[in-house]
């Protein structure tokens, strides 16, 4: 896997940084699978699309725990390396997102929910992950990132319930696509800004 990533990224250093991602370790992946399998069972049993509601929250936690002080053992050292820590963060965040999207899609397909809901969580997941990433990088705390991501997603679900009477409105309302994408873009920009090293040292 590391060799394949090295060829893809054209950087053996980034490839090894990728395989040391805290939220891509085996235990974390197993936990994600367990949560989504439970979501599939709950969806099949109740008809409520729990997989779609869970997937963005699980992915946001994975993104927040991808890299940073207190999360990555060698973070301090990584910050002094020629391969920039922003690149490490970007590569890890994309990898965590891609893995969670793949697992979520598999769980959605297995749960057999309505088509709009089956894939409707992908764009909200992008926004929630962006929020978690931005909060984690600005505050330099993975826990704050997770809290922000979960809170943002909970607010979206509750707002959907209040406005349309359905918890799934946050997933199925097509008018929310642009706001979700705008939130994701803004949060991405905030994360980029937060990970810069300011000029003015000379």
């Amino acid at each position: 896997m590391e060799r394949a990533a090295g060829r893809l990224l054209r950087s053996p250093g980034l490839a090894r940084a990728l395989v040391t991602t805290p939220s891509l370790l085996l235990g974390w992946i197993i936990a994600t699978v367990v949560v989504l399998v439970a979501g599939v069972a709950a969806t099949l049993g109740t008809g409520t699309p729990y997989v779609a509601l869970l997937a963005p929250a699980v992915a946001a936690a994975g993104i927040a725990y991808a890299y940073g002080p207190g999360i990555d053992p060698a973070w301090e050292l990584s910050c002094s390396m020629a391969v920039s820590d922003r690149m490490v963060l970007l590569v890890r965040a994309l990898a965590v997102f891609a893995l969670n999207a793949a697992l979520g899609l598999a769980a959605s397909a297995a749960s057999g929910a309505a088509a709009a809901v089956t894939f409707g969580w992908l764009i909200p997941m992008t926004a929630v992950c962006g929020l978690a990433l931005a909060a984690a990088t600005v505050t330099r705390s993975a826990n704050v990132g997770v809290a922000a991501g979960l809170a943002g997603w909970l607010i979206a679900i509750l707002a959907g319930q209040a406005a349309a009477g359905r918890y799934t409105a946050a997933l199925t309302d097509s008018s929310l696509v642009l706001p979700y994408l705008a939130v994701a873009a803004c949060c991405g920009a905030i994360a980029m800004y937060a990970t810069r090293i300011p000029r003015g040292t000379s």
């Binding site: 950087s11 053996p12 250093g13 090894r16 940084a17 040391t20 990555d72 053992p73 060698a74 973070w75 301090e76 050292l77 990584s78 910050c79 002094s80 390396m81 020629a82 391969v83 920039s84 090293i197 300011p198 000029r199 003015g200 040292t201 000379s202």
Partner: protein, 247 residues
């Protein structure tokens, strides 16, 4: 000059960790002495480009680390051992050193030989395939030193490098420092004055974020003649300078 610092400051909220430090140094071993909380680690972290200064001028290896390109070039030629070395317990010694060689952008073809050389230089050749979780604190410190020197750096920054080393390892490490200092700028932050006396060509003493003494180890020792508290001559110089700075 490989390190050229003018009036450098660093604040963390209301705390002034570094308060207007200026120094220049070229090849040789530069000792940074001082009590806990003096600002040594903050100064070293700025020199390692981990944190930016709040104000002042910092040039490393003739470059301004504020720009992306120069900073990357500095980092390629930099070795850094942080005070608290984090590590991946499942990595072997060789894998860990190799990881940082790769992150330093070393050409892949040069990495295996450089890793083997660095591991040998810290006397861990027989442990190259051992998992980090099985090593003692002193061995982990030497792994940290190996990753710092793997790229044959022009600027080597070591924060408390002898912490956890036994006396025999410390003697060997000081010899390594003297050897590295022949062609490299080595900055060693420590609170152990005997390390400075044995290995450093130049020394600065920090207190409350400021440099209160800058000179040779012999000059620091001379400050303690007839004054100061301590068992060794340099310790007396150290305490005498600190007492004078605080009075």
């Amino acid at each position: 000059m490989n390190v050229d610092i003018t009036d450098l400051t660093r604040r963390f909220g209301h705390t002034q960790a570094v308060a207007g430090v200026s120094l220049e140094t070229g090849a040789g071993v530069f000792g940074l002495l001082g009590p806990n909380g003096a600002g040594k680690t903050s100064l070293l972290r700025m020199m390692a480009t981990v944190i930016p200064p709040t104000s002042g001028r910092l040039r490393l290896l003739g470059r301004d680390p504020g720009g992306y390109g120069p900073r990357r070039e500095i980092r390629r030629r930099l070795g850094y051992l942080p005070q608290n070395l984090g590590y991946y317990p499942g990595f072997t010694v060789a894998e860990f050193v190799e990881y940082f060689a790769l992150l330093k952008d070393m050409p892949s073809a040069q990495v295996p030989k450089a890793v083997a050389t660095a591991v040998e230089r810290v006397d861990l050749g027989s442990k190259a395939r051992a998992k980090l979780r099985t090593l003692s604190g002193g061995m982990l410190r030497r792994v940290g030193i190996a990753q710092a020197i793997v790229n044959d750096p022009e600027l080597l920054l070591l924060d408390e490098p002898t912490a956890g080393l036994d006396p025999e390892q410390r003697v060997a490490f000081r010899a390594l420092l003297r050897d590295l200092g022949q062609r490299t700028t080595v900055v060693v932050s420590t609170h152990l004055v005997e390390d400075v006396g044995a290995a450093c060509t130049e020394v600065a003493l920090m207190d409350n974020g400021k440099i209160v003494f800058h000179g040779t180890p012999d000059e620091l020792t001379a400050r303690g003649e007839g004054h100061g508290i301590g068992d060794a001559p340099m310790e007396r110089g150290y305490t005498a300078v600190l007492a004078a700075a605080r009075s």
